[in-house]
Symmetry: C2
Subunit: 273 residues, 2 copies
Amino acid sequence: MKFIDRLRRAWAAQQSLLCVGLDPDPARFPRLLATSAHPIFEFGRAIVDATADLVCAFKPQIAYYAAARAEAELEMTIAHIRQHHPEIPVILDAKRGDIGSTAGMYAREAFERYHADAVTVNPYLGFDSLKPFLDFADKGVIVLCRTSNPGAREVQDLESGGRKLYQRIAEMAARDWNANANVLLVVGATYPQELRQIRAIVGDMPILVPGVGAQGGDVAAVLANGATADGTGLIISSSRAVLYAGGGDDYAQAARAAALKLRDEINQCRKQS
Amino acid sequence: MKFIDRLRRAWAAQQSLLCVGLDPDPARFPRLLATSAHPIFEFGRAIVDATADLVCAFKPQIAYYAAARAEAELEMTIAHIRQHHPEIPVILDAKRGDIGSTAGMYAREAFERYHADAVTVNPYLGFDSLKPFLDFADKGVIVLCRTSNPGAREVQDLESGGRKLYQRIAEMAARDWNANANVLLVVGATYPQELRQIRAIVGDMPILVPGVGAQGGDVAAVLANGATADGTGLIISSSRAVLYAGGGDDYAQAARAAALKLRDEINQCRKQS
């Protein structure tokens, strides 16, 4: 099944646009995990199992695993999701981008090694750097467009031909890169006006929206500016605000409570928009 | 010692601007390695030991290791270079780029886990995505500017304010991002006119130039357009044309011969320019 169809099925079945991002930072782990042989996996598994009925996707951030020399725990985490929650797609947040021959290796990393359903990529190197990912027609390729960080303005807002760079990227994504109907975009929740412009360019292409929670993005503004006519079209991702909602050994229950609150807040806004 | 000083020392001591890129592709390995417990490490070590007196840097490409589930062999390869060839800096080719908190994890991956001397990064997310790398003041941060692939034109050549995007990136790199004097740029050998423009913008900032060899870049044009007044300023990188110069069990000797020829060709052009 194509990624976008898996995503639509998850939106409907779960009644949720919420994605929980897995950014496991051992410095913030509860004491309970101090004696675990695989603390990063244990943490991720507990979060996944506590929130799986509330989300449309999980999004592990590979940098956190790589910094901790924990690629094996990333494999275990994704395998756990695929085995126990097979209806929930996995987005590997890796923001890869390289020339074609190397991009092919990164595509194998994401899709064959980790068995992710989708991966985030950087558009700076152009179409031929994206093609090895796009050639996996059943996988999702989520292209950075307007990111959630303050410095996004510096490069992504440069004007070109009367439009900003991020608008040009959105145009290329919708017009030139989407022959396999497997392109999505990343647009930060912290920039709702830009989200509105991008939605107007890309029609009903799904958009991954990080930046609610710790980064300060506003859920109502995201829905009002980014949702498609049927009240979907968005993967609204929160990582730290869910993962570290509780600092103690009840961290999984605290994460569930935070995810439940956020899912309901999103659904409330969907009804109103 | 700062990365740029290490690099200058290597340029002078080795009398070489050549960098050998380590893109280990097991599908192209000689039969000799079929029985090795660590074929990717063995391959890299043989190439390193056969070419270390000919180069100013080694550049392992992390995608090849990640696709093969061989992070441990990348660690072993870099440790081998640091132990046996400590005068040769190691550039981790990873092209990372993410929001600040995640970029901090990627910086730890490159500099603390792998002990690389420099890392390649993608500028699409702006300064705050580069800062966690730049804060390692003794490390080199090599920013993609104009890449060697055909699709580089698609995004990097967009016009903005009378200049192209890659020129804007070069300006920001030289003017805004280089407070620690640890920024370098990537400019593909396949685009000598763009290299000339970028050299004019960035003064004597060192430039990593991939794309000679398998990608078709011309050495004389690279030197004529990219060298600084003292005949340095460049890290000219070749990967596949060196690594796979011989297909048989004499691959290390064949790689040495290819690297020697390329180093000498570069030095001949330095004398003429």
